[in-house]
C-alpha cells in the first residue's frame, strides 16, 4: 500500500529514491508529458467556458487523479516510492530541509533565478526545461520574492471550517471551500504557494519544478481533512451544470474517471498520519 509521508520525515534513502525516480521519468520523456498536460488545462480552463483542472469544482478530483497517475509512473521506476507532501504551514522558510541539496535544491541565484544546487540544477543530471513559456531552459525559483509569507495554520483552519464544498458560479468568483483552498478568493492558499516559490512554479508550466507534486499532495491532503470535518457535505454540483464537471461526469483527459470515483483516496494511498 502506498503511504504518502510528510517530506520533512523522509529518510535519506527515501529522498534519494524519490529523486532518482523523478530523474528517470525526466530522461524517458514521461515527466514532460505531465508538464504538457497541466499547461494545456491551465490555458484552456476559463471562468466562462469549459473548465476541468482549475477554477472549478473539479480542481480537487482532477489533481487527485493527475497525482495518482504521476505516482504510478514513479512506481513503475521504483515500487517503493510514494509522493511526499509539503506542509507549508510548518516548513515555511528557504532553510527547510525540503530545499537542501540532497532533496530539491534551494532558491535561484539573484542574477537570473537559476537554481544552482541539488539534483535539478541545470548543470547536473539533465533537468532541462523542455515544455517552456520562454527561451530559458534551466529551472528557476525565487523563494519568498513574489509574496513574503506562506499560508499559516490559522489561515488553513479558516478555510477548512467552510462547510460548503463549492458554489455557483463554480469558478474563480465562487465562495466556499474549493475556491478558498484554490486561492482565487479570500486568504489564498494554493495559488499563493505557487507565487511564493516563484520561477517555473508561478507559470502555467509549474510541474517543471518537482515541488509541484509535493505542494499538490498537501492540497490533496487538505481536501481529505475537510471531508473528515464535514462528513455530511457532498461534492457539488450534483448534476446538470454547463461547462462544469458534475459529480458523475467524466473528466478530461482521461474520460474514464469522475469526481465520484475520486472522493475516497484510501484505495490508492493512505497518509502517515490520521487526517
Amino acid at each position: 500500500m502506498t503511504v504518502r509521508k510528510n517530506q520533512s520525515q523522509l529518510t535519506a534513502d527515501e529522498k534519494r529514491r524519490f529523486v532518482t525516480a523523478l530523474l528517470a521519468l525526466k530522461r524517458d520523456g514521461r515527466y514532460d508529458s505531465f508538464v504538457s498536460t497541466h499547461n494545456d488545462f491551465i490555458m484552456s480552463d476559463t471562468d466562462n467556458g469549459d473548465r476541468v483542472g482549475h477554477r472549478s469544482p473539479s480542481f480537487l478530483p482532477w489533481h487527485r487523479r493527475f497525482l495518482i497517475q504521476f505516482e504510478q509512473a514513479l512506481q513503475s521506476v521504483d515500487a517503493s516510492v510514494a509522493l511526499p507532501y509539503w506542509d507549508w504551514t510548518v516548513d515555511r522558510t528557504p532553510a527547510a530541509s525540503l530545499w537542501a541539496p540532497d532533496f530539491l535544491g534551494g532558491t535561484g541565484r539573484s542574477r537570473d533565478s537559476q537554481v544552482t544546487d541539488g539534483p535539478f540544477a541545470s548543470a547536473g543530471n539533465g533537468w532541462r526545461i523542455n515544455v517552456r513559456v520562454d527561451g530559458r531552459d534551466f529551472l528557476r525559483r525565487s523563494l519568498g520574492a513574489g509574496v513574503r509569507q506562506l499560508p499559516t495554520k490559522a489561515e488553513v483552519d479558516s478555510v477548512l471550517a467552510m462547510s460548503t464544498y463549492d458554489m455557483p458560479p463554480w469558478n474563480s468568483a465562487s465562495d466556499g471551500f474549493r475556491n478558498h483552498l484554490e486561492g482565487w478568493r479570500g486568504v489564498n492558499l494554493h495559488n499563493r504557494v505557487h507565487v511564493w516559490v516563484g520561477g517555473h512554479m508561478a507559470t502555467g508550466a509549474s510541474p517543471n519544478d518537482p515541488v509541484f507534486w509535493l505542494h499538490h499532495a498537501y492540497v490533496d491532503k487538505l481536501w481529505t481533512q475537510w471531508q473528515s470535518r464535514h462528513p455530511g457535505s457532498p461534492y457539488l454540483p450534483a448534476a446538470g451544470t454547463r461547462d462544469v464537471v458534475d459529480l458523475n461526469d467524466t473528466m478530461r483527459p482521461w474520460g474514464d474517471v469522475t469526481p465520484a470515483d475520486m472522493l475516497d483516496h484510501t484505495q490508492y494511498y493512505t497518509y502517515d498520519v490520521a487526517a
Binding site: M1, R30, S44, R111, V133, D134
Partner: protein, 146 residues
C-alpha cells in the same frame, strides 16, 4: 540555446546594469495597477504601447484573430504582445487578468500583466506555445488500486 536579438540583448543588459534592486522595485511596480485603472468586468481595456525595461509591450482589443491558445475568447477579446510575441492571457470573472508567465497572481490590468511578465522574463524571449492537443499524456487507463 535560441539566438537573442541585439535589441533584446540591449534591453537585458540595460536591466542587468540597472541592478537587481530595480527588479525588486519593478516587481512591486508591476504588481500595482496604474493610477486610475480599475478592473471592470466586461469593459474592454484601452490599448497601450510602451517600452518597459527595454522591452516593447503592446496591448489592444482583439477579435479572436491570431490567438494560439486552447480556444478563442479567453483573452476576453484582448491581446498582449512583448516584442511582437503574443503573451497568453486570460481574464478572471472579477475582471482581473493572469498570463501564462504569472498564472497564479491576478493583476488589475493587461498593462500591469505585461509589465509583470517583462520582469519575470529578465530579457528572455517568449515561446509561442503550441495549441493544446487535449489528449492524455499516456494511454487513458484506470489507476490500479494497490
Amino acid at each position: 540555446m535560441s539566438g537573442i536579438t541585439r535589441r533584446r540583448a540591449i534591453g537585458a543588459a540595460a536591466s542587468a546594469a540597472a541592478g537587481i534592486a530595480v527588479v525588486g522595485a519593478a516587481r512591486a511596480a508591476a504588481t500595482a495597477a496604474e493610477p486610475g485603472a480599475e478592473a471592470h468586468p466586461g469593459a474592454a481595456p484601452d490599448a497601450f504601447d510602451e517600452v518597459y525595461l527595454g522591452r516593447r509591450i503592446q496591448g489592444a482589443p482583439s477579435h479572436g484573430g491570431g490567438h494560439h491558445g486552447a480556444h478563442g475568447g479567453h483573452g476576453a477579446g484582448y491581446s498582449v504582445r512583448i516584442d511582437g510575441d503574443e503573451l497568453h492571457i486570460m481574464r478572471n470573472a472579477d475582471g482581473t487578468w493572469i498570463s501564462v508567465i504569472n498564472h497564479y497572481e491576478p493583476r488589475a490590468t493587461p498593462r500591469a500583466l505585461a509589465r509583470a511578465a517583462v520582469v519575470e522574463l529578465q530579457g528572455a524571449t517568449l515561446v509561442p506555445l503550441a495549441p493544446p492537443a487535449h489528449s492524455s499524456p499516456t494511454a487513458p487507463s484506470s489507476p490500479s488500486a494497490v
